[in-house]
Symmetry: C2
Subunit: 293 residues, 2 copies
DNA sequence: GCTAGTTACGGCGTCCGTAAGGATC
DNA sequence: GATCCTTACGGACGCCGTAACTAGC
């Protein structure tokens, strides 16, 4: 159960190929084969079926543990190093596409104005990756967003010892094309839209809506990307509906733009949370404070 | 950050000595010294001060991560092996001293009567150890107890992927000596007892009461053991008060025995939870079902 | 000078790479 | 027969033990 072997194992499982994993990890096929053999010998179990290379039942079980385990290992290392590091003036942020909303962008700007020497780099990633980057020390601060009932916390995957604090909550709107029959309404009830045509996007996964409201929400178009403007254009062209924070749509819609109709019921908000590890006094802690408002 | 080195590190930190850790781990002093040196070199930080051997700030931080990390590693291994193991007729239970109350003892007896070939071994341990044994696969089922508001879950330390289900909740009594001025009351309010003389015991840690009610609960005697009868005898002899599940005191008190006065307020119960990992069909699953009632 | 951790050095085991060997499509 | 994993073998490195060294009490 050497982490080294575990890493190789998850890589092989992910690629479904020893040789591809070897290429990614910088080993030879042979080394990977030996590592898997060693892991299987250690546990006394077959973890992978060969030809095709596919996890066995035991292998799938181990895979469920291996990811979080390796993440926690990196997180521990990062945390110890972070606590001992001298705070520099380089800050690495990671945020989901909708997390850096106007309010937070403004707070970030104010914080930077107060500390002109601060160098900031920002990465856009998925929520899980943001959490993993913060836990693993690749980012100092993370921002993740999601749709929840007011003042409920986001349900982020467990990625180890991370602190999360809510920073903003914003009204949600149903985004639909300008000519849509419902576009003129003052507000909409989600329950009335279970049979509408919906966009499946990472920004508003329909599984989340089903969790909150129940079955329904058929997929009219599945967008596998994270560009908000693309989503807005898809909506405007009538490909389907989606839920967005009000600030993600232009305030004065043109003829070609998507309309946002406030979501009346259920009471849901777009929540953004700040993620961080231990914060020794320094620019990271200052910025965390600034972003929290 | 090899788990091997981590294990050595926590052992050294626990003993405050390289040589003692070496003896426990079956290494030479020299090997331990080299392992710690390797870990410190890997992180680029001093983890232990020498003479006396004591963790540095970074070392303390690493210690906080190392324990859970190593536990999860063992837990992952145990889980994979457990899922693949053929169910035998040997069952290992671990329980806190107050967890195997009369109700559960009876359920266990019924389950054993139904499966006469079942061999059961039972260990009494602290709650954290019970959880660790279950997570690490050293026990098939665990029982842990604690004091909570009705139907609240116990707050067990995070010991990895473990399932917990409540199995019993029982009335709590204030245990006090027969001649105590309050012994005749029909019920007592905990808030009125914040200034009484209390026993500090692992069975009813006063910190828990302070969590629930607030400051107070001075320590009159600190018992570092887990024997319920000893606690009852201490109470009977007037060393102090404690909280016990009603079933832990004899139902018809003699002159020398401790009295139990029902706890009227706040509404608290003695809750027992069953802990287990993944349960493939077999005796362990059957017993878990039997214990759940 | 005694106790306890560190450093030097040598042997053994581990792990990887090269290359040949099978198994499956 | 091509692809892909496994096995055999050799070299390098890592890790531990013995033993000499050193720092505090």
């Amino acid at each position: 159960m050497d982490p080294h072997l575990l890493t190789t194992f998850v890589t092989v499982a992910r690629h479904g190929s020893f040789s591809a994993a070897a290429a990614e990890l910088g080993y030879t096929q042979s080394a990977v084969s030996q590592q898997i053999a060693a892991l299987e010998a250690d546990l006394g179990l077959a973890l992978l079926g060969r030809r095709p290379v596919k996890p066995t039942a035991a292998g799938r079980r181990l895979l469920e543990h291996a990811g979080p385990l390796l993440l926690r290992l990196r997180a521990a290392r990062a945390d110890v190093l972070r606590a001992a590091a001298v705070p520099g003036h380089r800050l690495r942020l990671a945020a989901t596409p909708l997390a850096l909303n106007p309010v937070l962008a403004m707070r970030l700007a104010r914080a930077r104005a107060a500390q002109p020497r601060l160098e900031v780099t920002l990465h856009t990633r998925g929520a899980q990756e943001v959490a993993a980057m913060v836990a693993g020390g690749e980012a100092d601060l993370g921002l993740a967003d999601g749709i929840v009932a007011p003042s409920d916390p986001l349900r982020l995957p467990d990625t180890g010892p991370i602190t999360t604090v809510g920073v903003t909550e914003e009204e949600l709107v149903v985004a639909l094309e300008a000519g849509h029959p419902l576009a003129g309404r003052a507000s909409l009830r989600l329950a009335d839209l279970v049979d509408a045509r919906w966009l499946q996007t990472p920004l508003c996964p329909l599984t989340r809506l089903r969790d909150l409201v129940g079955e329904g929400f058929p997929v009219a178009l599945d967008y596998r990307g994270d560009d908000v403007r693309t989503v807005a254009n898809l909506v405007a062209a009538g490909h389907g509906l989606t839920l967005l924070p009000a600030s993600a749509l232009p305030p004065t819609p043109t003829a070609m733009a998507a309309r946002g109709v406030p979501l009346g019921a259920p009471r849901l908000v777009h929540r953004v949370e700040l993620l961080h590890g231990a914060l020794p006094p320094g620019p990271a802690a200052d910025l965390a404070h600034a972003l929290s408002g």
